[in-house]
């Protein structure tokens, strides 16, 4: 940890020295390196730094090096705000990357707006508050690189209808999270609008362990798929108990399923005919993705996960915007970010829409005996 902070400070000093001979462009990195969601933050930063290293090795942006200034926000939103303030007012960065979670990212938006410096998130998926406020007004300086939760709900509904030919679905929703409720709402709207029917809508709350009663009552009904908008901790148990009760219908979920714990909880046999949406799949045969996986393994010695891939794309996208802006002026960079067209990343090719959200493809991963057996790319609309 202290090593990373140390790196950041060194980079700042180098940047100051370099100003005289070779100019550098400082980019703030405000991520969760310690605390509750440290694994998200660390994974993202690994990806970002790898992207910056590649760019600098290739000669930087028009001869200027990117200088990352890494500061830990301790997974706290108040700390995220003060880190953003420090980066923008004292370190003189041209843009800030991070934090990883929606709540922490939102805490940096007021700082970005008042200082006129763009903030970019790789993994904040909340529908409201990340790039638009509750009234639908766009935050001028906030951007994200990942799709939002409602898009996942819509995608999984279309996947059920078109790829699995489902007409009747059952939904078991995590009603204690905005994430679960948002996914459920969008799945339902899309599924019913296309003539599908939700034969049962059940709910649970975080930390529930017994789903046998719900599943037994579902078992008596006629349906084609089960959609579980929620996180791996409960979804793993629902899948296990459903399979134990002899329910073998396909089970659908979203990126909340993406954790090795899902396999531990559900067991290998239960995780068959399970599909979930995600930002990226290592099975994607696109050479861009396979090159990324190979060089990531070479650099860090492990397989990259979705957060690594999103971080890598964020680093590349930030550099691309600076290059297109033609200067290190934050407003020019902001305009370049908003005008992004056809950016090719490992998590998909995207354009920015008017709400500062990317219009990008989503990956639906199929699990067979607990391992990813295939992935399908679904384009928006």
């Amino acid at each position: 940890m202290s090593l990373l902070i140390g790196c950041g400070n060194d980079a700042v000093e180098n940047g100051a020295n370099n100003n005289t001979d070779k100019e550098g462009i400082k980019v703030g990195i405000n991520y969760e390196l310690t605390g509750g969601v440290a694994s998200y933050g660390q994974s993202s930063v690994d990806g970002i730094l790898m992207a910056f290293d590649e760019i600098n090795e290739a000669g930087g942006i028009d001869g200027k090096e990117i200088i990352p200034v890494v500061i830990d926000n301790k997974s706290e939103s108040s700390e995220a705000t003060s880190v953003a303030t420090r980066l923008m007012t004292q370190e003189g960065v041209v843009m800030c990357l991070g934090p990883a979670t929606s709540g922490n990212f939102m805490a940096t938006i007021p700082v970005a707006q008042s200082n006129g410096i763009p903030v970019l998130s790789s993994s904040s998926t909340a529908d409201v508050g990340v790039t638009i406020d509750a009234d639908g007004n766009v935050y001028d300086y906030a951007f994200r690189l990942c799709f939002n939760d409602s898009f996942q709900g819509v995608t999984m509904a279309n996947f059920a209808l078109n790829n699995l030919n489902a007409t009747k679905a059952v939904m078991i929703t995590d009603t204690s999270s905005d994430y679960g409720k948002g996914l459920a709402k969008n799945f339902k709207e899309t599924f019913e609008a296309a003539g599908g029917q939700l034969v049962a809508e059940e709910g649970y709350v975080k930390d529930d362990k017994d789903f046998n009663a719900i599943l037994t009552s579902i078992r008596g009904k006629d349906f084609d798929v089960i959609f579980i908008p929620g996180y791996y901790q409960e979804a793993g148990l629902i899948i296990k108990q459903a399979r134990d009760l002899g329910i073998d219908a396909p089970i659908l979920g979203a990126d909340g399923f993406d954790s090795p714990v899902l396999l531990e909880l559900a067991g290998e046999e239960a995780l068959t005919d399970v599909y979930f949406s995600n930002h990226y799949s290592s099975l994607d045969e696109d050479p861009l993705v396979q090159d990324f996986i190979a060089s990531y393994k070479e650099k860090y010695g492990v397989e990259p996960n979705a957060f690594n891939a999103l971080g890598y794309d964020l680093g590349k996208w930030a550099a691309d915007a600076i290059k297109r802006a033609g200067s290190a002026d934050p407003d020019a960079i902001r305009d370049a970010l908003a005008e992004t067209k056809g950016f090719e990343g490992v998590t998909g090719t995207f354009d920015m829409d008017e709400n500062h959200n990317p219009v990008k493809s989503i990956v639906v991963i199929e699990l067979k005996n607990g391992v990813q057996s295939s992935s399908i790319k679904v384009d928006p609309n």
């Binding site: 709910g203 017994d210 009663a213 037994t216 009552s217 008596g220 901790q233 148990l237 134990d244 714990v261």
Partner: protein, 305 residues
Amino acid sequence: MLTCFIATKGGATLDQFLQQIVNGVSLGSIYALVALGYTMVYGIIKLINFAHGDVYMVGAYVGFAVTTYLGLGFIPALIISMVTCAVLGMSIEKIAYKPLRNSTRIAVLITAIGVSLLLEYTMMYFVGPEVRSYPKLLSPKVFKFGNIIINMQQIYIVLTTIVLMIILQYVVNKTKVGKAMRAVSADKDAAQLMGIKVDNTISFTFAIGSALAGAGGVLVGIYYNSIDPLMGMMPGLKAFVAAVFGGIGSIPGAMIGGLSIGMLETLVSGYGNSMYRDAAVFAFLILILILKPSGLLGKNTKEKV
């Protein structure tokens, strides 16, 4: 005849109902094991031991540790966990409750809440907040009766509960120490005058209650395959409702209460709305407290002033 019946629509509903009974009995057995500890401790020192749900959590982690790291099977894991929890229960009583035995009841109650939080967050400090899963101890075999599915874990849960309850009934009603427990429960001072070692008897009661909670923890770990440091909170509260329903202080009452709460939860989730499950359990508690505060099998005692 039976297959013909199952083939009809009425059969499907019956199957579903019987399957819900299986679910309810499995869940209720665990509540009953935990409720016994509440009721025994209350019976003997008139204390609602709120740390009891967390002893159950510790039991689950001990079972997890010995099965994962030592590779032991179900029965040794169950016994080690019960012994560890018995020692933990006695230590809690000696350290936290005994010095307060002559204080007000509210002081001891608040201490119990303190012990509960201490256990939860000490465990979280050592094992982290994330969920862990048990290794596979029992064969994944399932038994099918028509459309009714009973899995190995459910059979083990119900059998273990029945065996432990038979042993408990024997200890309480047929042994000398059981007699001492009943005597202390009836009148502590008189029992002491008759030469019964009250401190030892109270320790023993905590040991038995905690051992049963430990067994419950291991069974839950195997059944649901998911344990975490805060897993004792909700089942602890529900087992408390079960103990009150059965009549707090009554051992058969705790068994009936546990099974009833398990069935109630299952039927509300299965036939009503799954979101009202917890609300139904606690609404039920309020109803009991209004209509029959002494519970199903509790004694009506006048409060001595």
